[in-house]
Amino acid sequence: MTSAVLRSRSHRVHGARLLVVAVLAGTYELLARTVLDPLTFVPLSTAVERAARLLGEGSYRADEVLPTIEQAVAAVAAGSVLGGLLGVVLWRWQVVDRALQPWLLLVYAVPIFALYPVFIALLNPGSLPVIAVATVGAVPAVAVNTAIGLGRTRPVLGQVGRSFGLGGAQIVLRVYLPSAWPYVFSGVKLAASYAIVVVIGTQFILSTHGLGHHIAETYNNFDLEAMYGSVTVALALATFVVVALGALERRLHHGAVAR
């Protein structure tokens, strides 16, 4: 299949995705302006306009958006490092893998926001407990994917490393981790999605800053337009992160994907 045909197909797929979003947005806009309760549902155009105004305010950017980004980035970074190390342990020691797998999967089946008060007690109020809860949410995705990627690396590649005189740790760094990288990166992508959800969700409870806090506060104050504005900012932020990481993934794996 020629690259021109592949490009054309890819453009059609992107077009279809945008069309789905446009149809959903248009339908909601129409319903919000006609049949839906105006005290509960704010039209999308109003929400976008309010989001733009909020983003224009320096205090909103500094108190709500920036802390959310900082906390999510810190959680993804910590989750990636800890998850990567745990993934190596799971891959290297099957007993640990078998013992921990059910617990790792359980993280996504329980409301880990519930741990927030525990972390506040341990770490005092502020950014740290939010980051800690989001890190707990990020670690399993990276760990499980790292272990899968390492396990799928063909042993002969490790033998190549050995034949060039590399020791165990060097073989992991130079051969196994690069080989597992597509899986690790998928884990980081998932971890980023979880981290954003958990950070914003956790900010709903007890927090004094962040998008989650702003959404909760404006909801409690019946300022629906501002609430929808913040929800729009949160959606835009999450969409940007997922799309950017997807584009980065395609760029990094360009050419090497058809293994």
Partner: protein
């Protein structure tokens, strides 16, 4: 024959109670191309791992220039049977791997990679990924990755076994040309009599497990050779001699396998 480069002295290997290799004695001269041929399951791969320092023998020792080989070292390069290119690296970066490990400066690395890719005929594919290449081209990348560090001995474990017959023969001819250009000493482990007769100066025939040297056949075919030699009477005579040594051993290995099954 010039001076002895590698000596295999009374090498044997056991896996628990199973004696995989009997008692192997062998000398390889500098610049020589030696094929080690034996029946299935005779311990060829174990011998290769011992020769390349990837495994220590339970008996005897391997010496390179008089020094004991008990770990992998830059002077011994290995080409594996299985497809072993790194899929996340381009052809050029695959070829550069050993040089990176050895800490060769970037500029020298680039020059040597360009040179070895020209030698194996992949200069136009330097920026391609293995997934974009054929099986034969990928094996040439693996050969380039081994040769670029200029090892004194190249140990090859059935490097063409995953390829179709025609590609194997063509790549065999290519290998002879490449080895001729680099002057490397080659130890080729293979079960293919044709491959051994086409490529080697000397063919070591191993017996069934536990492997011992059954016979050593000097290959009288003149060099340089290419796949054209396959149709000659002299080539048929070499393969007949190898097969006459190997036939009983192959039957023994087959019977042992049938009984075990």
């Amino acid at each position: 024959m010039t001076g002895v480069l590698m000596e295999v002295a009374a090498v044997g290997h056991r896996y628990g109670d199973v004696q995989a290799l009997g008692h192997i004695d062998l000398e390889v001269a500098e610049g020589e191309f030696v094929a080690i041929c034996g029946p299935s399951g005779c311990g060829k791969t174990t011998l290769l791992e011992i020769l390349s320092g990837l495994k220590s023998p339970t008996d005897g020792e391997v010496r390179l220039d008089g020094r004991r080989v008990d770990h992998p070292q830059p002077e011994i390069g290995v080409v594996f049977q299985e497809e072993s290119t790194f899929p996340w690296r381009t052809v050029a970066r695959n070829a550069a791997f050993g040089l990176e490990v050895l800490g060769v400066p970037r500029r020298e690395r680039s020059a040597r990679v360009a040179e070895v890719l020209r030698t194996v005929g992949l200069a136009d594919f330097a920026d391609a990924y293995p997934a974009q290449l054929s099986g034969g081209m990928r094996q040439r990348v693996a050969i380039a990755r081994t040769l670029v560090t200029r090892p004194r001995v190249v140990v090859m474990d059935e490097p063409f076994s995953a390829l179709d017959e025609q590609t194997r023969l063509l790549l065999g001819g290519e290998l002879l040309r490449i080895v001729g250009e680099t002057g490397a000493t080659v130890l080729l482990v293979t079960h293919s009599i044709q491959e051994a007769a086409l490529l080697a100066d000397r063919i070591i025939v191993l017996g069934a497990r536990p492997a011992r040297v059954r016979d050593v056949i000097e290959n009288p075919l003149p060099k340089p050779r290419d796949a054209g030699v396959l149709t000659t009477e002299a080539f048929a005579e070499v393969t007949r001699r190898v097969w006459s040594c190997l036939e009983d051993e192959a039957q023994r290995a087959y019977d042992a396998g049938a009984v075990a099954a």
